[in-house]
Symmetry: C2
DNA sequence: TCAACAGTTTGTCCAAGACAAAATGAATCT
DNA sequence: AGATTCATTTTGTCTTGGACAAACTGTTGA
């Protein structure tokens, strides 16, 4: 059997060391074995369960109710979830998912390319990439695909979107927008979808990729004369940290610069954050753009 | 003044909470203030110094000698370093660096594109991207550019390389190679450079992007019928963890599958790791490919 | 239906100690 | 000189148990 030390488990599951230890104390799970030094060693099956737990937490479940429950109960929760929404039952999306599942990267690439050409960049992002991205996350949760397949999918889509975005001449238009994610958020697809949606509208987009420290975002926004800073969050990003970081970033940013935040991590937030424009479905970004332009003299 | 809690400092500097606390105990630096709860709050200037320390450690310095030293001493170390190698004094590279420094993204893009067309993909990777990447790291160390500029550079190069790689038809040739980085390594440029070098040689490359868990790499390699697994490390990756993770991956991989590892983190390793092919300068990858092909029946 | 309240849950932080892996430097042998 | 062995420091990571505020829950009252 394969045993992992606590640091490896933190990296593989995204659950912090402190949290792993406190769960063990409170919910009697996980229960790692110990090595000669007395240090925790987690069996692979417990790590698998932790990954599942992480995903269920992202979906809105609470630790007290699910950590400690046996595996069957958790799987039942997954099944219950996947029955509720009829999977949006889009046959095209399902076909793409199947290509991901079987590692058919050439077919996947060809099919995506076809959709891109047929729909155009904006609709491709909104009608193919966004739902497909959700569907891949869902399929992972159900155990139908693995992490490797998820990564493969991300790479393929990224190649396509970056090629398409790069082939459009830099606009030099307004507003000038700086795009990035905060430290800890490594998912870039949300960012690329926003860029794909806004570039055809004549927005001047500059992406810094993922995980830019707050201070550097603020400095770049000031120095580059940007009008808007846009950051994106995946469902995996802890909402608690997202809110704190957004407040902090807002404080460091010049008041004249707008701050847009979007993505699943902020879904279901009751109170909006002062000075932060929340954009949840991807389509909202066009409305936000129209609003921004209307507010300019 | 701007004060950051310990978790934010960990994310911004990459130095773990435990390490931050133990440095404070041993070297009397950093010395954060405390809030009402008694929790650490780090002033921005100490965080800046921590970032510099991190970089110096990556360059081979040892904590006992540099943490605790005043800022001027550290800056002197940086200067001493940059005088030693005459910066490879390539005028073209310097011009590109200047474009990065000034946020001239349009010019940067155009110049890179020009080099790519002129040199071809392989030489572009080896003669432009690789040295430019090093030079950007060096410029960051000297404080000539910030993190935002570094990210901007990475994005631009990534767009170009991905477009170029994507425009080549999938080869279906041999060997079949799986490329990725290990959890904790987020730099993708090394991977893209390898892909750019090998695809024109007819190698069938499949990239999983960054940070794939070991178990998923092994499973994907088995399921996809790959001949070679290639992983890349940046200078920022702790060599200690790299060696441990490579041993672990080697153990999980089928014996018939070769494991290639490259990148700055393994530079200066005395003993090679059993069953791992180490590739340090980018050019070596072609030699390794020739060797692999020669060994096939 | 919404707002305010009290109660519970939960992630993160602290302290000081411990230890093994890695780096260093000295000594010894080809 | 160059390589190999050994002892000594250095250094990051892990341990325990306690503590607390922010966020969430569910109830009460308008």
């Amino acid at each position: 059997m394969n045993l992992l030390p606590i640091a490896a488990v933190e990296r593989d599951t995204g659950i912090g060391k402190d949290t792993l230890r406190v769960w063990e104390r409170r919910y009697a799970f996980p229960q790692p074995t110990r090595d000669a030094k007395g240090e925790r060693l987690y069996p692979a099956e417990q790590v698998d369960k932790l990954r599942l737990l992480r995903r269920l937490l992202d979906q809105g479940h609470r630790p007290g109710n699910i950590v400690g429950e046996p595996l069957e109960t958790l799987l039942a929760l997954v099944d219950a979830r996947s029955e509720a929404p009829p999977a949006a039952a889009n046959a095209q999306i399902e076909a793409l998912i199947e290509a991901v599942r079987l590692h058919h990267s050439a077919e996947l690439r060809a099919a995506l390319q076809q959709h891109l050409v047929k729909l155009g960049l904006q609709r491709f992002a909104a009608e193919v990439v966004a739902p497909l991205s959700d569907a891949v996350g869902e399929a992972w949760l159900q155990g139908r695909i693995g992490v490797a397949e998820e990564h493969l999918f991300t790479e393929q889509v990224q190649n396509l979107l970056r090629s398409a975005i790069g082939s459009l001449a830099p606009s030099g238009g307004t507003p000038r927008m700086l795009l990035t994610t905060l430290p800890g958020e490594e998912h870039i697809l949300g960012l690329l979808m926003v860029e794909a949606t806004l570039i055809p509208e004549g927005v001047h987009c500059v992406s810094l990729g993922t995980q830019t420290p707050l201070a550097d975002i603020a400095e770049a926004a000031r120095g580059g004369g940007f009008d808007i800073v846009a950051v994106s969050f995946s469902a995996a990003f802890p909402a608690r940290q997202a809110v704190a970081a957004l407040r902090q970033l807002r404080a460091q940013l010049l008041p004249g610069i707008a701050l847009w935040a979007g993505g699943a991590a902020l879904r279901g937030k009751r109170r909006p954050i002062d000075g932060v424009c929340q954009i949840d479905p991807l389509a909202d970004v066009l409305a936000a753009l129209a609003a921004w332009r209307a507010a300019q003299p």
